[in-house]
């Protein structure tokens, strides 16, 4: 059964909190990783790897630069 967008958002919030210390509640769809959350490309790699383990969706390094907002990642995982 596919996870709902809300489930994915919550899972992502936990992952981002573990890796960066940012409160999970700050992780909302419209937020930009670099500008709003201050998450750099190295943390994005860690987040991508953790998301792969959690949701079973591979996010290769060359895709990461296209994932600018939390919503971009939600869409990527759902599709």
């Amino acid at each position: 059964m596919a996870a709902s967008e809300q489930d994915i958002l919550e899972g992502l919030g936990k992952i981002i909190n573990e890796i960066t210390g940012i409160p999970a509640s700050d992780v909302t769809p419209e937020k930009s990783f670099v500008d709003d959350l201050d998450i750099d490309s190295l943390s994005m790699v860690e987040i991508a790897v953790a998301a792969q383990d959690e949701f079973g969706v591979e996010i290769p390094d060359d895709q990461l630069k296209n994932l600018k907002t939390v919503k971009d990642v939600l869409n990527f995982i759902q599709n």
Partner: protein, 318 residues
């Protein structure tokens, strides 16, 4: 065959290190490259690094570090029968560094060879020293990790020029009634050989940072746990974790997943830069000097880097 002289185990007896005298800060590098102190500290963790001068060759640094370890061990040069130098930045292919370094330290006619496993070199060399002592092929081994990386750097490439540095660390390893060095867990990922390379003698050190970061933060914590298991040690028993000082973010990512909550984690990269094969013995020697770790405690050392190669083992801190 009737083999005598084997030993039940081997252990580190003493450590030593050498850092070149020239300190280069992030601000200095920012003058000639498009980078900043803030960027370097947050992405790599380095505050300053050491650069060897023209009068500090790789062999010089190895001799200094080796000499200090030898002096600290209380052994005489004549007690050493094997010298291993882990390095990937020799200026010339032959003669090897080990034979030259041994001679300069007054060690007479020991076995002498160099190990090139880049940043995993020290752990590979340490495993070989341990095995040699147990097998009866050597009694006391001088293991040195030494690098002069800065001579291979492209100073216009900010992705490498701010990271790599020079230095040497050394350990004297001797026989022991019980194992003081656990079995090594070693391996390689040759499919990623292009990720860190010096293509040829006229070229510079090149690194695909993203690829290396992803590999290091995912493939190595299982190796670390395996090395603990093979030694019959739980990560929670470790009093120190000394991974290769590649990048502070990598160090923190591996440490986070290891579960060694009582362990001091080496962060020597902050003041030493990434010194490849030298980084682990350099870090441990400096931590001991500063009293950050105590003799007799258990430490996990974990090297990883170009090859890609990796090796890790649990050791008793000398």
């Amino acid at each position: 065959m009737r083999i005598l002289d084997t030993a039940p185990g081997a252990k580190l007896l003493a450590l030593g290190h050498y850092q070149p005298s020239t300190v280069v800060t992030n601000d200095e590098l920012s003058k000639t490259m498009d980078t900043s102190d803030e960027w370097i500290r947050s992405r790599v963790g380095i505050q300053e690094r050491r650069v060897a001068g023209a009068d500090e060759s790789l062999e010089d640094m190895a001799v200094h570090a080796g000499g200090k370890a030898l002096a600290a061990s209380g052994l005489a040069a004549s007690d050493i029968d094997l010298v291993i130098v882990a390095t990937c930045t020799m200026e010339s292919p032959i003669p090897n560094a080990a034979a030259v370094v041994a001679h300069r330290l007054g060690i007479e006619a020991p076995g002498a060879f160099d190990v090139n496993a880049a940043c995993a070199g020290f752990c590979y060399a340490l495993a070989t020293a341990d095995a040699s002592i147990r097998a009866g092929s050597a009694r006391n081994v001088l293991v040195i990790g030494a690098e002069k990386l800065t001579q291979w750097l492209d100073w216009t490439d900010r992705s490498t020029a701010v990271i790599f540095a020079d230095g040497a660390g050394a350990a004297v390893v001797g026989p022991s009634d019980t194992p003081g060095i656990g079995p090594v867990v070693w391996g390689s990922a040759g499919d990623k050989a292009d990720a860190i390379k010096i293509p040829d003698r006229t070229d510079h050190l090149r690194q695909e940072g993203q690829t290396v970061f992803r590999w290091a933060t995912t493939a190595l914590h299982p190796v670390a746990k395996q090395a603990c298991e093979r030694a019959g040690v739980d990560p929670s028993e470790l009093s120190a974790f000394i991974p290769h000082q590649a990048n502070l973010r990598i160090i923190e990512a591996i440490a986070r997943r290891l579960g060694a909550d009582k362990a001091v984690v080496a962060r020597d990269i902050v003041h030493a830069g990434n010194t490849s094969a030298a980084s682990i013995p350099l870090a441990l020697s400096r931590m001991l000097e500063r009293g950050e770790v105590r003799s007799g405690g258990l430490a996990l050392v974990l090297g990883f880097g170009a090859g890609l190669t990796y090796a890790g083992q649990v050791i008793e801190i000398p």
